[in-house]
């Protein structure tokens, strides 16, 4: 099936099987390998992207369903000259990643949260991340990074 969509502001087209998942189309056809696959049950969030502005798990959507849509992936988050976005920079500043495998999904999830809720509480950040698993960081610095990206002071407990 022939499909076309706008990915990170660029028009793309492809010819896919009906069973091709959006994540596989992004990774294999478009070579946008920043979107990761961590599970096969839509539980881990490593594949999180935005479709028409909404946070979506790219492993739980067929590529054909995104026909005509606007898709944003991790590759489109930094500025064209490579400058990191405020969220990406906060992840680096607060050591919000270790192996980096969950990270694209975390950044996309965080971006979606901050768009809806520019100053989330700690509880709101943790709740928003319920669909994203990180095995490395224990979430401490991810939560801290997302709160910092929203311009908030860190609670005392997050000092370390």
């Amino acid at each position: 099936m022939k499909i076309s969509m706008v990915v990170n502001g660029r028009s793309v087209a492809g010819d896919v099987e009906g069973r091709t998942l959006l994540v596989d189309f992004l990774r294999q056809d478009l070579h946008l390998t920043g979107t990761h696959v961590g599970c096969d049950t839509s539980q881990c969030g490593a594949c999180t992207v935005h479709v028409d502005g909404l946070q979506v798990k790219a492993c739980s959507m067929f590529a054909v369903e995104a026909d005509g849509a606007e898709v944003a992936t991790i590759e489109g988050v930094a500025a064209a000259d490579g400058t990191l976005s405020a969220i990406q920079q906060a992840f680096q500043d607060h050591h919000g990643l270790q192996c980096g495998f969950c990270t694209p999904g975390m950044v996309m999830a965080a971006a979606s949260l901050l768009k809806e809720n520019p100053r989330p509480s700690e509880a709101e950040v943790r709740h928003h991340l319920e669909g994203n698993i990180c095995r490395c960081t224990g979430y401490h610095n991810i939560v801290k990074a997302i709160m910092a990206a929203s311009g908030q002071e860190m609670p005392a407990l997050a000092a370390e």
Partner: protein, 787 residues
């Protein structure tokens, strides 16, 4: 004043930029022109006699190139076990053959039986469904104590029963321990389970095999923590490929936690099939496959006894542990419950008599091997639970009981064959009491009680042994490998540096922390220094990363290599300044002659080494590149004290972790930010083990927890912000950096304080007293225990 570069600085991680922008190079991101895809048909029963495999219909399906079965691997070696254990009576362990694809028998759910190689993965999967297996199901043995009974079904027909070994340690202590326990004033006995876990790095395993007929060169790209070890094991023991014809590359790896140490069937398969088909062959694990094919962790059933005299001094510890090996021996499976567990049974305490018995058992389950902490969490959990239980039985304060028995003089030789070089267990406990705000606990407990909740506070100490070594000792203990590491410091003509290291980074931030050390030594900026790792064609023969050995062992090799470089550079500088070598000093990137104002920059010396126009060629070779292999004199011994505070809803059994505090002694710290991050991650994995995670088999050997729908991983809402401190520092005395290692501490230290906290909460209420609950402490288990 915190430093902004070099040793002790929280330098920001340079690797983050590629991970944050989606430009990392994980193994599944690698696609080689012309590659084929493999799908493994895996066993869906735990135990069966495999009579035959009919692949004819599948082989005719679209896109299929070839279907491999066990018969294709008859001339190939089995997957080797890296550690030979000698049992109590001096006999070697039983070591079954571990075929790449099942031969004659199926021994666990998930065992690969056939491998379908096709143009696309979808075609390979479709074809696998057309394969007809002819097998007779056999009764499976899952429970370890059932497995060692004389009439139990045998996992391996050619072995004597299902006992791999019966290990006694130290066997000569056995009688003295029995006597001490008989004569003790009080003995606390605890039976417990250390639950089976799945490591679950977020990146599933991947293998891509490649073969070049023109030069007979094999390349394997794989998600590994130790590419040279994989090259050695797969080349020498499985496929018989000489090392110079085999390159193993582990690029960006998305977490390991132990599970990517081991050599797996899929790696050998893809390498073998690439040659057989003369095409690249790629396999990417699904998460469900990972649950059935990654080595599992823990899985001990233990009885521990702690004997005390009338003054509450510990006099003896005796344990009997059943350790599950699963159906085959994974690479380091045999070592984990023995040398990594038994040697830590002294903990932080001066117990004079200790005896450890470990029975390793084969069952029809996925092989078990080292998982974050490996053996040390199992030792710590038993010891710290039994101490808490003893304190409760004796009506004494659990912290006071620990303090009274702390080891306080170093070096200290334990009765279980290791010597702790340094430590200060009172200092970490003092620090813990401070950072966890013990003083405010009573008020917080009253506030909880006012809302109908119970609050508990649990503590524990831990000690671990990191940087496994030295080679001659581990050799005596049965290791089939050396345990040094290696580094090459290559200085470029203009003074920038590439360091090739044997350690492997899969989240630990080596690209940032290793240059901090070199920058400190030479005095040039960190961004002038790069780390090369993960490719056997580029790095010296090193052993990779596990057991928190990266800086302690490989970092020490790097220091030694840098010292050689600096020594040679000083000779060149002496020549350039016409001074005597003994007078040359290196500081802030300049060589100077002591007591004069003569100096020459680092870059001028390095340039002279590569452009040797004015150069003492008769005395010194050109160039500036040195390699060092470093074999440590001992393990390192990080230690610490942890506290967990929970609030428990007695109506539902639901436990909320309110506070978690960790005071660790890691010796010297290179990058405090990275160290804190390692502790956070370890704590979350420990919380996972204590509260959520557990691998569940039914009695037929079906794996019931084979996806994230059934295996509960800790998520952001399950954990609090942690309070961690590593300001207590007793530097390691036998490595040049004085570092001890921090990667596993959190996972070792956290489960006992959690369980202790929950029991403290339960027992603070007016209801039934509860002595122990096995992990994971799910609401239903907690609630049931309280009824």
């Amino acid at each position: 004043m915190p430093k902004d570069s070099g040793i002790g600085a929280s330098s920001k991680r340079r690797e983050d930029v590629r991970f944050l922008t989606g430009t990392g190079n994980y193994t599944d991101d690698i696609n080689i022109y012309g590659q084929l895809h493999v799908h493994f048909l895996r066993a869906d029963v735990a135990h069966a006699k495999l009579n035959g495999v009919d692949t004819a219909a599948a082989a005719a399906m679209p896109g299929v190139h070839r279907i491999f079965t066990g018969a294709d691997f008859e001339a190939v070696g089995g997957l080797p076990c890296g550690w030979l254990i000698t049992d109590r009576h001096g006999a070697p362990m039983q070591e079954p053959r571990h075929p790449v694809l099942a031969q004659g028998k199926i021994r666990h759910v998930g065992e690969p039986i056939c491998a379908v190689v096709a143009d696309t993965l979808a075609q390979a999967r479709d074809a696998a469904e057309a394969i007809v297996l002819d097998y007779d199901t056999l009764p499976a043995v899952i429970d370890m104590k059932e497995a060692v009974k004389a009439d139990a079904p045998k996992v391996h027909d050619d072995l004597t029963g299902n006992l791999c070994y019966d290990w006694g340690f130290v066997e000569d202590n056995r009688q003295a321990v029995d006597d001490a326990i008989k004569g003790a004033a009080h003995v606390t006995t605890l039976e417990l389970v250390n639950n089976r876990l799945v490591a679950n790095p977020m990146e599933p395993r991947v293998a891509v095999g490649e073969y070049n007929r023109a030069d007979d060169m094999h390349t394997l790209h794989t998600t590994s923590q130790n590419p040279h070890v994989i090259r050695l094991l797969m080349g020498a023991f499985v496929l018989g490929i000489p090392e110079h014809k085999l390159r193993v590359v582990a690029p960006d790896v998305g977490g390991g936690f132990g599970t990517k140490i081991f050599h797996y069937a899929e790696e050998a398969f893809c390498t073998f099939a690439a040659k057989a088909l003369n095409r690249p062959v790629k396999w990417t694990s699904t998460r469900s496959e990972a649950f059935m094919s990654d080595a599992h962790g823990r899985d001990h059933v233990t009885k521990i006894e702690l004997a005390l005299d009338k003054d509450n001094n510990f006099v003896a510890v005796r344990t009997e542990t059943y350790a599950n090996m699963g159906a085959y021996l994974s690479t380091f499976a045999s070592c984990t419950p023995t040398w990594l567990h038994g040697t830590l049974m002294a903990g932080n305490y001066k117990t004079p008599h200790i005896y450890v018995n470990v029975k390793a058992v084969f069952t029809n389950t996925v092989p078990v091997d080292a998982y974050r902490g490996a053996g040390r969490p199992e030792a710590t959990f038993q010891l710290e639970r039994v101490i808490d239980m003893a304190a409760r039985e004796l009506g004494v304060d659990p912290i006071a009981l620990r303090r009274q028995n702390f080891i306080t003089t170093f070096p200290y030789a334990t009765p279980v064959a290791v010597e702790y070089d340094t430590g200060d267990y009172h200092a970490t406990m003092d620090k813990l009491i401070d950072i966890a705000d013990f003083a405010g606990f009573d008020a917080r407990r009253k506030a909880s009680e006012a809302t109908g909740k119970l609050r508990g506070l649990g503590v524990n100490c831990y000690i671990e042994a990191c940087g496994i070594a030295p080679s001659n000792l581990v050799g005596q203990l049965g290791a089939r490998a050396g345990l040094y590491d290696a580094a090459t410091v290559r200085v470029n003509a203009t003074g920038s540096i590439s360091v090739m290291v044997g350690a492997h980074s899969h989240g630990q931030g080596h690209e940032t922390s290793f240059p901090q050390v070199i920058s400190e030594m030479i005095g040039i900026p960190e961004d002038q220094i790069d780390i090369v790792h993960g490719d056997t064609s580029k790095i010296p023969f090193g052993m990779g990363t596990y057991g928190s050995r990266s800086l302690a062992v490989c970092g020490s090799a790097m220091v030694r290599a840098a010292e050689k470089v600096i020594n040679k550079a000083k000779k060149i500088a002496a020549h350039l300044m016409e001074a005597s070598e003994g007078d040359i000093e290196l500081k802030d990137g300049r060589f100077s002659v002591a007591g004069t104002d003569k100096s020459v920059a680092w870059g001028d010396v390095t340039l002279a080494a590569y452009v040797p126009h004015n150069y003492p060629l008769t005395d010194i070779e050109p160039g500036l590149e040195e390699t060092a292999f470093y074999d440590p004199a001992n393990f390192t011994y990080p230690s610490g004290a942890y506290a967990c505070e929970v609030e428990l809803d007695p109506e539902t059994g639901h436990v909320k972790i309110e506070r978690f505090s960790a005071a660790d002694d890691f010796g010297n710290i290179i990058n405090p930010m990275i160290v804190s991050g390692q502790v956070h991650g370890g704590i979350a994995q420990g919380i996972g083990q204590a509260m959520l995670e557990g691998c569940v088999y039914d009695s037929d050997g079906q794996l019931l927890s084979a996806s994230y729908m059934d295996y509960a991983m800790p998520r952001a809402e399950d954990v609090p912000f942690y309070t961690v401190d590593h300001s207590c520092q007793t530097p390691c005395t036998h490595n040049p950096l004085g570092v001890k290692g921090c990667g596993e501490a959190g996972a070792i230290g956290s489960p006992p304080s959690l369980v202790n906290a929950v029991l403290d909460a339960i027992n603070s209420g007016g209801g039934k007293k509860v002595a122990h609950i096995n992990m994971p402490l799910t609401p239903s288990r907690v609630w049931a225990a309280m009824q």
